[in-house]
């Protein structure tokens, strides 16, 4: 193990890690928002919007992010719009992530038995109250784990950004390997970097899942 190589390139990895976190983080958060909105639209069966959401979900979920990014990065300029690679990254991640989050949120909402909603109704709770006190807490239980999987997936998907010249972790790793071929050292640094990012994320969700399940009946 060439430790001097590792020492020399740790700053570069740190920089890419930061970029991955920032762009990935923003994209993930935006996708959770998008997903929640879409899930609610489907849940309440809002006309017209419901169909748009379905079309969007199917389109983005069933095609790879890399192709979506290519269209944003190389295709849009043909129509006169030139977005930076960062912007493309965030938009791409939000677009893709949104549909995954929507599906997971929707599935979670579905686990709440109709009986619960009926009971809430009979107790004269209005829509918002029902959602807030009855549906969401129960749905949250089913949502946490898939959402965690999605977040980790999205953060790892940021590796695709390397294709549009955004210096994320995977870009840096492949770059260095192609130049110096210290594959072992570089892949080790890559693993450690992702560990440092994803382990805390996983931990947070685990904690969240425990807290939510605490009040389990």
């Amino acid at each position: 193990m060439d430790w001097s190589f590792i020492a020399e390139y740790t700053p570069l990895f740190a920089e890419s890690a930061l970029l991955t976190i920032i762009i990935g983080g923003i994209g993930t958060l935006l996708s959770m928002l998008t997903g929640l909105v879409c899930a609610l639209i489907k849940y309440f069966r809002i006309p017209v919007l419901k169909h748009i959401v379905t079309a969007y979900t199917e389109l983005s979920r069933n095609t790879p992010l890399i192709v979506q990014l290519f269209f944003l990065y190389f295709g849009l300029p043909k129509a006169g719009i030139v977005l930076s690679s960062e912007a493309c990254g965030i938009i791409g991640l939000t677009f893709l992530g949104g549909s995954y989050m929507a599906e997971s949120f929707y599935a979670a909402l579905g686990t709440v038995l109709k009986g619960q909603i009926d009971s809430a109704d009979s107790l004269a709770l209005n829509r918002v109250q029902t959602m807030r006190y009855v549906v969401f807490p129960q749905a949250a239980r089913a949502a946490v784990s898939p959402i965690c999987a999605n977040v980790i997936f999205l953060l790892k998907e940021t590796s695709v950004f390397s294709a549009v010249s955004l210096a994320d972790l995977m870009y840096t790793a492949k770059d260095l390997i192609g130049m110096y071929y210290n594959t072992t050292e570089i892949l080790s640094m890559l693993v450690v970097s992702y560990l440092l990012i994803l382990l805390p994320v996983s931990g947070i969700f685990s904690l969240l899942e425990r807290r939510i399940n605490r009040g389990r009946i």
Binding site: M1, A163, S165, K174, I177, M179, Y181, T184, V191, S206
Partner: protein
């Protein structure tokens, strides 16, 4: 939960350590002949097939045409090698990032993938005599032509991964901001969309491109020292290395590489390029 997470972290760390050990094992392996991963010339001849790693998307050196056939300057040489060894040829698609791994694990016998010779790489693989030389050129938009490298100091230079230009600029001008793409067409799109201030790769390529694309000029036609492209074999595979060197020397008699140029590159570069600036015959620059 806290203990659990610690366990996870520890075990993952252990996993990494394991991987690292596994991969570094190769240095021990190469020493004993029985365990070596590469194949000698005799072993190759006996098996009846040679595996050569080439690029599959770097026109005109290694690419796959519309009929699914491998073509290119590197491919032309690969086919001759197989022919002269009397074995069948198996092409293995390689990328810039795995050229060396393929050799170190013996999954290919030779790499003929536009592999630029550098001292660091020579530590990991053995290079044979060169069969091509490269001078770099820089193309930029007419509105802001780059005529000297100094002009690039605060600008962005586009390069394609795995090319000599990438190696050259990373080594010699680390201060210049590089924008890297996997494919040539992506790099050109980026240049045209104004994402970078200039693009650099083999001067033959940029000259040819600039001719076809108005609005762009090759401001620098020859940059820096001449770089060499050579076949690479697994470290210590002396039998194969010597065979290739002998082969290259003997092919000079028939001006093989000039012919390779005519067959694979002449159409692409046309009259814009002087053959002698690229071809290396008999391994002599």
């Amino acid at each position: 939960m806290k203990t659990f997470k610690k366990i996870t972290a520890l075990l993952s760390a252990a996993l990494i350590a394991l991987t690292a050990t596994a991969c570094t094992n190769n240095s021990d392996k190469a020493s004993s002949d029985d365990d070596q991963l590469y194949r000698t010339v005799d072993e190759i001849k006996e098996s009846g097939t040679i595996r050569i790693g080439v690029f599959t998307d770097k026109n005109p050196f290694g690419y796959v045409d519309n009929n699914g056939e491998y073509q290119g300057y590197d491919v032309y040489f690969a086919e001759r090698i197989a022919q002269d060894l009397g074995v069948a040829l198996e092409f293995v698609p390689t990328e810039a990032a795995n050229r060396v791994e393929f050799l170190e694990t013996g999954k290919v016998d030779i790499v003929l993938a536009n592999f630029t010779v550098t001292d660091e790489r020579a530590e990991k693989v053995d290079f044979a005599l060169p069969y091509m030389k490269v001078a770099l050129g820089i193309v930029s938009p007419d509105s802001d032509v780059i005529t000297s490298v100094e002009q690039l100091t605060d600008k962005t230079l586009i390069v394609v991964k795995g090319t000599t230009a990438e190696t050259y600029f990373t080594e010699n001008y680390p201060a210049i901001k590089l924008q890297k793409y996997d494919e040539y067409n992506e790099a050109y799109s980026a240049l045209q969309d104004g994402r970078g201030d200039a693009f650099s790769t083999d001067n033959t390529e940029v000259l040819a491109w600039a001719l076809q694309n108005p609005g762009f000029t090759v401001g620098i036609e020859t940059l820096g020292s001449i770089d060499k492209i050579a076949p690479a074999v697994t470290k210590d595979n002396t039998s194969l290395l010597n065979w290739i060197n002998d082969e290259i020397a003997s092919l000079a008699d028939e001006q093989f590489f000039h012919k390779a140029y005519d067959e694979t590159l002449a159409d692409v570069y046309g009259t814009a390029v002087d053959k002698e600036s690229l071809v290396v015959e008999g391994g002599v620059i």
